[in-house]
C-alpha cells in the first residue's frame, strides 16, 4: 500500500510540476520522505545503465537515449538532468506502474558524481559508465581524488564498469577488476607528444604516485600513460576511436564506422564513443548506431548558433570552474582557419551557489589563443578584470583584447562590419545574459 501511495503522490506532483514548470527534484524528494527505501521496492528493468564523471554526462546520456529510442527500445532517462537521488527517484516512480514495475526496457541514469553513492545505494546498475575526472567546481568538489573516493563508494562489485581508458584516474577504478569494458582513442593525428596546458593532473601515477610517462596526449592529461615505477598503464580498449579528422569533422570507430561530427571537438568524440559502447552492449547493430550518431546535433542547448547584427557566431556552453571544458571550447575556436573573434563572459561564477572565487581562470590554457586564427578577444561580465589579469600573463598582444564589464556593451562592440565568426565561451549561469541580446537560430 505504501508503495502504491508513494508512486501516486510522486506521479501527481510531477504532473502538476510540469504544468507550472517546476523542476523534477521535488516529487522524488517527497516520495523519499514518505517511503525512504522506495527504490528498493520497485521492480527495475533488465538493463540499468548509469553514467557519471566530471564532464560529458548529459551529452552522453542524451546520445545513448537517442540511439536506443531510434532502435525501438523504450528508455526511461532523466532528460531534465536532475541527477541527484531526488531527481532519479522522480524518474523511476514516474516510469513505474502503480504496482511498482518500471515499464521501460532500459533505465538510463545520469548521476551526479559526488552523490552517486546515495543514488546507487538501492539501485544496482548493470552497467556504469565513468567518463572522466577533471578539476570541476573545486569550490564544492575539493579535487578529482576527493570525487574519485565519492564515486568509489557508489560502485557495486556485480556492476560492469565502462571506463575511459585514456583517463588515468578513471581507469584506476578498473584496476584488478574483471568486469570492465574499456573505451578510448588510439594515437590520433591531433595528438601531441608533449603535454599542452597549464597543469598536468596525469604527472604522477594515481596508484603509487611515481612520475608517469605518456607516449601520446589526446588533450590535457587524457592519453596513453604508463607509470615509471609500478607498471600501472593504460588498458587496451574494446571500443576505440581509431582516427579523427577534425578539419573535415570526421571520426572513425573500431576502424570501420565513420561518424560525421556536428561538433568538431575531441571532447565530443569521447561522448560519442561512450554512447556507441553502451548501445553496442545493449545489442544494437553497430551500423545503425553509427548512422544514429553521425551528424547528431545535441538538443540540450549547450551549443547555440546566433546572429549578431550582420555577423554569425556560436555560443559554446562551457563550465565555469572547469578548465578542461574551457580548453576544449578554446581549442575549437583556435581551429577556425577562416579567422574568428572570441568572447568570454564571467558574470556569475555559479547559478546554483554563491562564490566569488576565480582561481580556476588560472588553470585554463588561454595561452592557446595566441594564434593567427584568433583576431579579437572580448572579456565581459562582473569578473572581466580578473579575466584581464589572467590574459595579461599570456603573450597575447593587449591590442587584441577588449575589456568591458557590461555584456550589452560588449555585444555592441562586436556588432561591427567585421566578417569573422564569433565564438562566445561562457557557462550556464551567464549564457542567457548573452543570448537575450542576439538573434538565436
Amino acid at each position: 500500500m505504501k508503495v502504491l501511495f508513494t508512486i501516486i503522490v510522486c506521479k501527481i506532483l510531477r504532473f502538476i510540476g510540469k504544468l507550472v514548470g517546476k523542476g523534477s527534484s521535488l516529487p522524488g524528494q517527497i516520495a523519499l520522505k514518505i517511503c525512504p527505501d522506495i527504490l528498493k521496492r520497485v521492480q527495475l528493468p533488465k538493463y540499468i545503465i548509469a553514467v557519471t564523471g566530471s564532464n560529458g554526462k548529459t551529452s552522453t546520456v542524451e546520445m545513448i537515449a537517442h540511439i536506443l529510442t531510434q532502435n525501438g527500445k523504450n528508455v526511461a532517462w532523466n532528460k531534465e538532468g536532475s541527477n541527484q537521488i531526488e531527481g532519479v527517484t522522480t524518474l523511476i516512480l514516474n516510469s513505474a506502474t502503480l504496482t511498482g514495475k518500471v515499464k521501460s526496457d532500459i533505465l538510463l541514469i545520469e548521476s551526479d558524481e559526488r552523490f552517486a553513492q546515495y543514488t546507487f545505494k538501492y539501485i544496482v546498475p548493470t552497467h556504469y559508465v565513468i567518463t572522466n575526472l577533471y578539476r570541476d567546481q573545486l569550490t564544492r568538489n575539493g579535487h578529482p581524488e576527493w570525487v574519485y573516493n565519492a564515486i568509489k563508494d557508489s560502485i557495486h562489485p556485480e556492476t560492469t564498469l565502462i571506463l575511459n581508458a585514456d583517463d588515468p584516474l578513471v581507469s584506476s577504478f578498473g584496476k584488478d577488476r574483471e568486469n570492465v569494458i574499456w573505451f578510448g582513442a588510439d594515437k590520433l593525428s591531433s595528438d601531441t607528444e608533449k603535454f599542452v596546458g597549464v597543469y598536468n593532473d596525469g604527472a604522477y601515477c594515481p596508484i603509487c604516485k611515481s612520475p608517469m610517462k605518456y607516449s601520446t596526449y589526446h588533450y590535457d592529461h587524457i592519453g596513453h600513460y604508463e607509470c615509471t615505477s609500478c607498471g600501472y598503464k593504460r588498458h587496451n580498449t574494446e571500443y576505440t576511436v581509431t582516427a579523427v579528422d577534425l578539419q573535415k569533422g570526421e571520426a572513425q570507430i573500431n576502424g570501420k564506422y565513420t561518424i560525421k561530427l556536428a561538433l568538431k571537438s575531441l571532447y565530443n568524440i569521447y561522448n560519442l564513443l561512450a554512447a556507441f559502447t553502451v548501445a553496442s552492449i545493449a545489442g544494437i547493430d553497430q551500423d545503425k548506431i553509427a548512422k544514429n550518431i553521425s551528424n547528431y546535433v545535441l538538443k540540450n542547448g549547450r551549443v547555440v548558433t546566433f546572429e549578431l547584427g550582420g555577423r554569425r557566431g556560436m555560443l559554446l556552453t562551457s563550465k565555469h570552474e572547469n578548465s578542461i571544458s574551457y580548453n576544449q571550447s578554446i581549442r575549437l575556436a583556435c581551429a577556425d582557419t577562416n579567422g574568428c573573434d572570441v568572447m568570454f563572459i564571467v558574470d556569475a561564477v555559479s547559478r546554483k551557489y554563491f562564490t566569488s572565487d576565480v582561481s580556476w581562470l588560472w588553470d585554463i590554457y588561454f595561452e592557446m589563443l595566441n594564434n593567427d586564427n584568433v583576431r579579437q578577444i572580448v572579456l565581459a561580465g562582473k569578473y572581466c578584470n580578473d579575466l584581464a589579469v589572467r590574459f595579461s600573463y599570456t603573450d597575447i598582444p593587449s591590442d587584441k583584447i577588449k575589456v568591458t564589464e557590461d555584456i550589452g556593451q560588449a555585444c555592441e562592440y562586436l556588432d561591427s562590419d567585421r566578417k569573422e565568426y564569433i565564438y562566445v565561451i561562457t557557462c550556464f549561469s551567464d549564457k542567457d545574459k548573452f543570448l537575450g541580446k542576439v538573434k538565436v537560430d
Binding site: 581524488e145 576527493w146 582561481s359
Partner: protein
C-alpha cells in the same frame, strides 16, 4: 632575486602558480631582476640561494608524499625563517610545518615540527568558503577561498582575523600561521594575484631584505579593480548573512 617554486607539479591544485608569476612580475616591474627556479620530489636545492619560497596546495594523498620529501629541508627551512627571509605556503602545504597530520584513516604522519600545531583530516565533508581576512600589518583586508578537509589546532601565532569564512579549526576566528616573514594560510589559489595589496607588502619585504629596490605597482590596475569587485561581492554576502 631568486624565487623557488617547490613541488610545482604536484602541489598545484588551484592555479597557484599564479602566486609565483605575481611575485616574478612585480620584481620585474621593479627592476629587481627575478629568476624563478622550480624543484620537485627527489630534487635537492639550497634554500640559502633564494629570496622567496612558495609551495601550493595538493590532494591529501599528494601532500603526504611531499611531506616525506620536504622533511629533508627541515633544518634549512628553520634557518631560512630565522634569517627573516620570505616564504609563502598556501592551502594544505602549511600543515606540513606542524607537529603531525592525521589522515581520515587515523594514520598519523610526523610533520616538520617547526610549529606545535596538529592537523586532523576527515573524508566526509569538504569545508569550503569564500573568506575575508584581516591582518594587523595590512591596510586592506584579504579576499579569497578556503577549500579543505582538516582541522588545525594549537596555532600560537596565526596571521589573520576571520571576518567572513573559516579559520584554522571550527569556531576559530584566527587563520594561518606566521613566523618572521614566513606566511602559511589555507587560502587557496593565486592569493597574490587576487590581493594586490598583499603582493605589494611581500615585495616591500623582499626589497628590505636585499638592496632596497623601489617597489613599482602602477601596473596593477586590473588586479585592483578585480579585488574591489570581489571584496564588494563578499561584503554584500557577509552583510546579508548577518541580517
Amino acid at each position: 632575486m631568486k624565487i623557488l617554486h617547490l613541488y610545482h607539479d604536484i602541489m598545484n591544485l588551484y592555479g597557484e602558480y599564479g602566486n609565483v608569476r605575481a611575485v616574478e612580475r612585480i620584481l620585474q616591474k621593479s627592476n629587481a631582476n627575478p629568476e624563478v627556479v622550480t624543484a620537485t620530489l627527489g630534487d635537492s636545492v639550497n634554500f640559502d640561494d633564494f629570496d622567496f619560497i612558495y609551495i601550493g596546495s595538493g590532494t591529501e594523498k599528494n601532500q603526504k608524499i611531499v611531506l616525506d620529501d620536504f622533511k629533508k629541508y627541515t633544518n634549512q627551512l628553520n634557518d631560512y625563517i630565522e634569517a627573516g627571509k620570505v616564504a609563502l605556503f598556501t592551502g594544505n602545504s602549511f600543515e606540513m610545518l606542524g607537529k603531525s597530520i592525521t589522515d581520515a584513516d587515523s594514520n598519523k604522519y610526523d610533520g616538520m615540527g617547526i610549529f606545535d600545531f596538529e592537523t586532523v583530516e576527515q573524508n566526509k565533508t569538504r569545508v569550503t568558503s569564500d573568506v575575508i581576512f584581516t591582518a594587523d600589518f595590512l591596510d586592506e583586508p584579504l579576499v579569497g577561498f578556503v577549500n579543505k578537509c582538516s582541522e588545525i589546532k594549537g596555532v600560537e601565532t596565526p596571521i589573520f582575523d576571520v571576518k567572513m569564512g573559516i579559520g584554522n579549526c571550527s569556531g576559530d576566528k584566527k587563520e594561518g600561521v606566521m613566523l618572521n616573514h614566513m606566511y602559511g594560510t589555507h587560502l587557496t589559489g593565486p592569493v597574490l594575484i587576487k590581493n594586490p595589496y598583499f603582493l605589494e607588502y611581500i615585495a616591500k619585504i623582499l626589497s628590505g631584505n636585499t638592496d632596497k629596490f623601489e617597489v613599482f605597482t602602477d601596473y596593477l590596475s586590473y588586479e585592483r579593480a578585480g579585488y574591489e569587485v570581489t571584496l564588494s561581492e563578499l561584503t554584500k554576502r557577509m552583510e546579508n548573512n548577518s541580517n
